[in-house]
C-alpha cells in the first residue's frame, strides 16, 4: 500500500470519519460493562482506524505509529494487564483479584474498575497488533 487509494474524496472522508471511529471505539470500551463490546472490539476498531488511514493515504502516512511504535503499544497493553494482576498481589489478593484493590469503596465496584483497567490494556494490545499485522503483511518484500 505504498501509494494508497488516495483521492480527494477519500482523503476528506477519512479525515471526517476517523474522529468518529475513535470516539466509537472509546464508547465501545467504556460501555463494555453495560452492553456488548469491550476491550478487544475497541482495540480492533482503533487499529482498523489506523489501517484505514494507511489504505487511504498510503503507507507513508505513519500517523505516529510505526513498526516499533506498534510493538511498544502491543507489549505495553499486555503489561498493563499483567501489572493490574500483580497489583492485586500487593494488596493481599490472589492474582487478578481486583476486589482487593483500594480504588473503590466496595469490592464489587473495585472489580468493575479493575475490569475497565484490563480492558484498556487489551485495547492497547490489540490496536498495536492489528497495526503491526497490516503493516508487515502489506510491506513490499523482494524475492529471497
Amino acid at each position: 500500500m505504498r501509494k494508497g487509494f488516495g483521492s480527494i474524496i477519500l482523503d476528506v472522508g477519512f479525515r471526517h470519519l476517523t474522529p468518529f471511529l475513535i470516539l466509537y471505539a472509546v464508547y465501545v470500551l467504556v460501555h463494555g460493562h453495560y452492553g456488548p463490546g469491550g476491550g478487544f472490539q475497541a482495540g480492533a476498531l482503533l487499529g482498523l482506524a489506523v489501517v484505514l488511514g494507511r489504505v487511504v493515504q498510503g503507507q507513508d502516512a505513519e500517523l505516529g505509529i510505526g513498526l516499533s511504535g506498534g510493538l511498544v503499544l502491543a507489549c505495553t497493553g499486555a503489561l498493563i494487564f499483567l501489572a493490574i494482576g500483580l497489583a492485586s498481589l500487593l494488596w493481599g489478593g490472589n492474582f487478578l483479584d481486583y476486589g482487593v484493590l483500594p480504588i473503590a469503596s466496595a469490592p464489587a465496584e473495585a472489580r468493575a474498575l479493575g475490569i475497565l483497567g484490563i480492558e484498556a490494556g487489551v485495547t492497547m494490545g490489540v490496536m498495536g497488533v492489528i497495526i503491526i499485522m497490516f503493516d508487515l503483511l502489506t510491506r513490499r518484500g523482494e524475492r529471497e
Binding site: 452492553g35 499485522m133 508487515l136 529471497e144
Partner: protein, 129 residues
C-alpha cells in the same frame, strides 16, 4: 410446521449436525487443498465450526442476551442466555485471529522464498535447492 418426533429432532439437532458437517468441510479442506492459503482458510472454517459448537451449547430457547436489564440486580436464570460459552469463544476467536495472522506472515515468506503457494510445487523446489 412439523410435529412430534421429527420436529423435535429437526429443531433440536439440525444445528449440531450442520456444525459437524462444517467442521468436516474445514478438515477436508486442510487435507485435500494444495494451496497453502486455502489450507489456512480451511483452518479458519474449522475454527468457526468449533466456536459455533460452543455457542450452540450455550443457547437456551426464548432467552435474551447476556446483559442484565438496568432494573434487575439478580438475573433470572431462565431469562438469560448462558454467558460462559460466549466468554470462552471470545478468547477462541481471538486465538483464531492470531493464528491466521502468523500463518499469513509465514505464507508471505514462503511465497517470497519459493515463488509459489502450491504445496507440491513448494516441496519440489525445496528438493531442488
Amino acid at each position: 410446521m412439523f410435529d412430534g418426533v421429527v420436529a423435535y429432532y429437526l429443531t433440536g439437532y439440525t444445528n449440531w449436525w450442520l456444525i459437524a458437517i462444517l467442521l468436516l468441510i474445514g478438515f477436508w479442506g486442510i487435507v485435500t487443498q494444495q494451496n497453502l492459503l486455502k489450507k489456512v482458510m480451511a483452518l479458519n472454517v474449522m475454527q468457526v465450526a468449533v466456536i459455533l459448537f460452543f455457542l450452540n451449547a450455550g443457547q437456551k430457547a426464548g432467552t435474551t442476551l447476556g446483559v442484565l436489564r438496568a432494573s434487575e440486580k439478580v438475573g433470572d436464570v431462565s431469562a438469560y442466555v448462558n454467558p460462559l460459552p460466549h466468554a470462552l469463544m471470545l478468547t477462541a476467536i481471538v486465538v483464531a485471529l492470531a493464528i491466521t495472522g502468523v500463518a499469513l506472515a509465514l505464507l508471505l515468506r514462503v511465497y517470497r522464498s519459493y515463488g509459489t503457494l502450491e504445496e507440491p510445487e513448494v516441496f519440489r523446489r525445496m528438493q531442488q535447492q
